[in-house]
Amino acid sequence: MTPPPAAAVKGGARPQVSPRRRDVEGIERVYVWDLLVRMSHWIIMISVFMLAFTGIYIGEPFLIPAGPENEQFVMATMKTVHFYVAIIFALTVASRIAWMFVGSYYARWHQFVPMSPRRRRDVFGMLKFYSLLSKEPPLNVGHNPLAGMTYLAVFGLYLTMIFTGFALYSVSAVGYMQMWEFLLPIFGGAQMARWIHHLAMWFLLGFVAHHIWSAMLVSRVEGMGLIDSLFSGYKFLPKSWRNRDE
């Protein structure tokens, strides 16, 4: 195996290249995730954790403060944090969805829907990999098509959380947020909106668990610097792969 030329790896540590690839001619550093994609990823991650923590407290208050009520403000503080983080979360999700239509190539909607026959085939390739039927995942520059479809479902969960949350907020809202009241009958009343809000949160946390483990696994197996790329934006790809998806 010929080592990849150092020149191709400017600005980064030399990545491990999976041996099974035929691209012995070397690897190169390709800008895959633009700034908004990376920022929204981490903002959503932090806000989901904060929302889940405060939300679990709001649903089942497990901290019981001592002392008179005029010296305590635990639930109210949790709710305030929940509401402010929810604003950040909703705006981030909204910008990310808009970015699916105006953003850079690998941020666009076609990364989430398997449009080409190759990407459709790769869905099954990826399923085979996950079910231990094959050792090698099909390789993609951006999201693998199965992951893309999963993220589409996750965006569905985000929107469910946002709209049930807005509907519940509208119950006591003063001002323009009252407009979300119309959603309450759609969800079957505030109590059902609450129930859906809880259910969607557990789905989301289940996804988080899967996402972290799978990211570690795929990153290790692909050897393209998947997790690093969510910080730097660059993946390390075999040469001539730059335009693979185009």
Binding site: G59, P61, E136, W202, L217
Partner: protein, 376 residues
Amino acid sequence: MDEPGSDFRRELEARGVSRREFMGFCSAMAVMFGLPKGATAMIAEALENKPKPTLVWLNFQDCAGNTESFLRASKPTAAEVILDLISIDYHEVIMAAAGHQAEENLRSVVENQKGAYIAVVEGSIPTGANGAYCTVGGRSASHIANEVCGNALATIAVGTCASFGGIPAASPNPTGALGVSDAVPGIKTLINLSACPVNAQNLTATLVYFLTYGRFPALDKLNRPLFAYGKSIHDNCERRAHYDAGQYVEQWGDEAHRDGQCLYKMGCKGPVSFQNCPNIGWNDNTSWPVACGHGCIGCAEPDFWDKMTPFYAHLPGFPGFGKGSDIDKVGFWATVGVTTAFATHTLVHLGKKLVGTGADHAPESPPERTDEGGAE
């Protein structure tokens, strides 16, 4: 004291209601609607001078609890008078007439005062078995409701049964019970005064508003007057400070319960229920559920018997785990399960690879051929 100027005032005096009490009642009504000071005089003027419309009260599939609530409205003695002076021509529980005579009264109102009387409906309307589950004078509830409500100036559905179907319509709804809005298609003016039972003060207030302004008050999406159903129980609750502080009753009769702390963890549905109970209370503002240490059960909300149960839990159960199951417990263990499953999966994957190649990322042989990779 000046001489009574109208029949109405003479009537009040005859019943021992002073002018002062009457004006007090009018002010209370104005306050309930959130109207400014001048409205009191307007209400008094209207009650004294406007012609009183006829009212018919229909009882269908329910426990007559709304009638009980209405008859026990004792505080505004004036309210009784006003409700008396609204000519109640038909009310199955309190009318003197019986049998054919009573049915004749109803028929004559519908025929002679078409489009001018107010219909009050209590109880849900069963549609199963061709309406046989509830008949009055040989006619089905649905038939009567369509005829009486269809020809009325306005219909007031009192209680959750008449508004949304209520307890008779709870799953599995054996009689096919419906609220008035569904049972009388195309009904024009309908006000839902849901709650189990209706708070008599809200009924009085709705009628007073109608008499004063000749139209019904502003309604929410479920046709309930905003003055009574515009705010959640939670937002006006007297125990709200404990909620915000994070102080909750954990168990019936514990110290927090004896201290009157928040009933949120005992399944209080105040945050998702809308009514003015915390403000006007029940039984002459003697008390209301939360004040006596029991959480709200959301009785004024559609399908409350299905959706608000279990009454002593925060949320309904998870399908397949029983009605009393806790969605958060199910969700927590599901998440733990998913985490474990994927952790195992990843480790198995990497372990297999390690065993298969001898060492991860340390090839001994030329790279094996996989898929074609490149272009489509």
